[in-house]
Amino acid sequence: MTAKSIGARLAWLITAGLFLFFFVLPVIWLLLAPTKSDAEIIRNNPFAFGSLDGVVTAWRNLYAFQDGVIVTWLRNSAVYTGLALLITIATSIPAGYGLALTQFVGRKTLLTVTLLTMIMPNAALVLPLYLEMDALGLDGTIWSVVLPFSFFPFGVYLTYIYFSSTIPQDLLAAARLDGCSEWQVFRSIALPLARPIVALVGFFGFVGNWNNFFLPFVMLPDSAQYPAQVGLNNLLTSSAVFNTSSGVDNAIMRPELALATLVTVVPVLLVFLFSQRALVSGMLAGATK
């Protein structure tokens, strides 16, 4: 029995460790990259540590790129994803609840249509969306990015599945029999339990939009409006690593690119840690119900 449990523990450790290795090794490399010079990145041991001065140099070069435009990119990203996040949560949580726990004509149609739009390849939707924004007079405004960002069928499905597999129907039925209105049922029963799903939807919505390249690229006509991903792409293509016509004065090389990506990833990781806590608190809520 004990031998068996030791074996099980060992198997657990090996598997978890193997995947830890798989997921984290490249990230460690990326973390170390800005401490080195471009030549050191290629020639030295991949996991060698350069120096903190290397990071300072890389940051100086990065910040010198178009007078600190990276700050503008980050601010733009924050505005677009922040606004979209609010609209996403405000629309998809009630929608997922409505689909899961109320009965209305067209419920299955709505689920089916949502699924259909979710599996429609993006390349085919770019032109229609662009023309639509043009027709609505929103082209060139931040809304041409924020509104499509806010449409998050993935989150609606997450919420739908969450509510339909978490809240027992009889709980709602009892509340209704007690004379609660549908709105009160939603407020007093569903919302208190919704914390983990708000965290999940918010997180995935945030990351998806933060990392979205193509939509802002297509919609926004002005480089002052670019979010981080579109900006980073400009950074990449201006670097001598990828742009053979960049000339000699170019200071953007692998360390600067690595640092730029790390800087833009920080907000995503912060949001992840926050939503992790909400997920765990959801576990406790689940235990008390």
Partner: protein
């Protein structure tokens, strides 16, 4: 499927809900906000794309003309072949490993589990430029942090690492590296919502970890797994980012029309042929919908428990 594991009088409850909620008008209120967004940014563009796929640049209806035309394209069959190969490897890997890892992490050590989930997720935060930079180095045995591993397989140059036969597996590794962490978090969250009593009861009945996983946890994750399957299938058929990424990181050694979505993109933005592009996209949607239909009916995804 194995609904019996969750003893519930579903029928009675559903009847009760219906009595209490006869008109269901509130349902419309709940979905209203989303409905507007769905219409504007889901239905209208999709409908327009569908129209594009059955018309030509003069605005005339051409029936299935665009479909037969794109079918005759020299890239069509290879691209579908590639995607099919990739799908098989990708779906199996994702399903098995995500469920396995989520259940493993849902053990008793909350701190370790939380840290591991964070670390497994980390790559998911890296997109676009970050991944280009990373794979640029990772895939080249001479400079790669995992060069010893690549060389152990006998691949000593970048070109050998990304030889055409390796691509489906390579793309699976990349997609898994970036995408699995997110799904593990979702599955973990779902596992949290299985009441402790159910698992305790099974444990008292003498079920071991494996039996609990197979007979209790996985059946109760049914809808989540179904959802993951549908989306993984759809995103798998739409494979675009990974080939594009490896192509950039290898100075073009992957054909620009390796996957169907790439061919569709080339139609739209290299040839300016939005109709052919839409037809290819519709092909993918049809395949994705077929899979979704099977999964939805088999798992009762749309049913209310």
């Amino acid at each position: 499927m194995s609904q019996a594991t969750v003893p519930r009088a579903a029928g009675a409850r559903r009847a009760a809900a219906r009595v209490a909620n006869p008109a269901g008008r509130m349902g419309y209120v709940f979905v209203a906000g989303y409905f507007v967004l769905l219409l504007a940014f889901g239905v209208v563009p999709t409908a327009y794309a569908l129209w594009l796929s059955i018309s030509n640049s003069r605005g005339q209806l051409v029936g299935l003309g665009q479909f037969t035309r794109t079918f005759a394209d020299y890239r069509f069959l290879p691209a579908f072949g590639h995607v099919l190969m990739y799908l098989v490897i990708w779906l199996v890997t994702l399903m098995v490993l995500v469920v396995l890892l989520a259940i493993m992490l849902h053990g008793r050590m909350p701190r370790t589990s939380s840290a591991l989930r964070f670390v497994y997720y980390l790559p998911g935060a890296l997109a676009g430029v970050a991944s280009v930079l990373l794979w640029l180095i990772l895939l080249d045995p001479a400079a790669s942090p995992v060069g010893w591993l690549l060389e152990a397989f006998g691949w000593d140059t970048l070109a050998k690492v990304i030889a055409p036969d390796h691509l489906p597996v390579l793309f699976t590794v990349i997609a898994f590296w970036t995408g699995a962490g997110g799904w593990i978090v979702i599955m973990y969250g779902a596992l949290n919502n299985i009441p402790h009593e159910v698992i305790e009861a099974a444990r008292i009945d003498g079920a071991n970890v494996l039996q609990i996983a197979l007979r209790v946890q996985i059946p109760m994750l049914r809808k989540w797994i179904a959802y993951m399957l549908i989306l993984a299938f759809a995103t798998g058929t739409q494979l675009f980012v990974e080939p594009q990424l490896v192509s950039t990181a290898s100075w073009g050694m992957i054909p620009d029309g390796w996957s169907v979505a790439q061919v569709s993109y080339l139609y739209a933005f290299q040839a300016g042929d939005f109709h052919g592009a839409a037809a290819l996209a519709v092909d993918l949607v049809v395949v994705g919908l077929a899979c979704a239909a099977v999964v939805v009916f088999r798992t009762g995804l749309f049913e209310k428990d």
